[in-house]
Symmetry: C2
DNA sequence: CAACGTGTACTAGTCTATCGACACACTATG
DNA sequence: CATAGTGTGTCGATAGACTAGTACACGTTG
């Protein structure tokens, strides 16, 4: 449950914190129902403003990873572990694909771009498919 | 050779322009040696500042897609088509992987995150591998 | 029911990315 | 060799993201 952030990495602190929480859930270090550190407590430990921790926690709540309870604290949501396992499986598939494409000679940036293009492409086709099937 | 940008999409104009140029190369609409529109001409057509076109062109040059010739114009680089074909092949592989993972129930954001994680992971292992093999 | 600990809300400062205005330097062309 | 058309460079304005400071509201606990 020790989070370590890098203030000079260029990556926003609240994003780094979100990453670490998600990662802890995926590795099982944090389980359903576990309480996260208090906002103030964590802010003090990491030497940053409580609002930055709030930002991270609130976005994690928005993503369905944690549940904030006014007056009590922040807790790992029920469904979080299941999704974590799903994502962990996906990681294997992604790994082999990425390795294959990199070995073909693609640069990391080219790979990222092709991936984003594919998401955009698939997104629009999913939309039209949902429409024809009557699932808005 | 008609580029169409969306000023209110939240995506920077110079990035949108870069995308369109790259896409044109990948589809074959732009071939090796072809001249791109003049900076001022394109800026006028797209109703934006010449500097924004410059930004796009310069980054494309940095990526090896185009070659800027002082006094003459901007041209598609020699090696660009070859890379475009490579990327086009990669797109097929990526497509099947993305579709498979989406059908497993992953959200787009989860997929994106897992992908970025994989890149970071692979990046660090590539680094250490290069070191042990003496290829800095 | 009081007091402490929790998350919440509002406001403001700072920094960076993006885009724009304008003057400079090179090159083809007649 | 002049001129028009090309890319190059410098500077500034603006908007948005990120972080911080401070006061408020709810809930648990004795």
């Amino acid at each position: 449950m020790i989070f370590r952030l890098n203030p000079s990495s260029g990556i926003p602190l609240y994003l780094q914190l979100m990453e670490q929480v998600k990662h802890s859930v995926e590795t099982g270090a944090l389980r359903e129902g576990d309480q996260l550190p208090t906002i103030r407590r964590l802010a003090e430990d990491l030497v940053m403003n409580p609002n930055t921790v709030v930002r991270a926690y609130r976005e994690l709540e928005h993503e369905g990873v944690v549940k904030l309870k006014h007056g009590s604290g922040a807790f790992i949501k029920e469904s979080a572990s299941g999704r974590a396992r799903l994502i962990h499986k996906a990681q294997t598939v992604i790994q082999s694909t990425v390795e294959r494409l990199l070995s073909l000679g693609l640069t990391e940036d080219e790979l990222r771009r092709a991936f984003e293009n594919e998401l955009a492409q698939t997104r629009s086709s999913r939309r039209s498919k949902a429409l024809t099937e009557g699932k808005p």
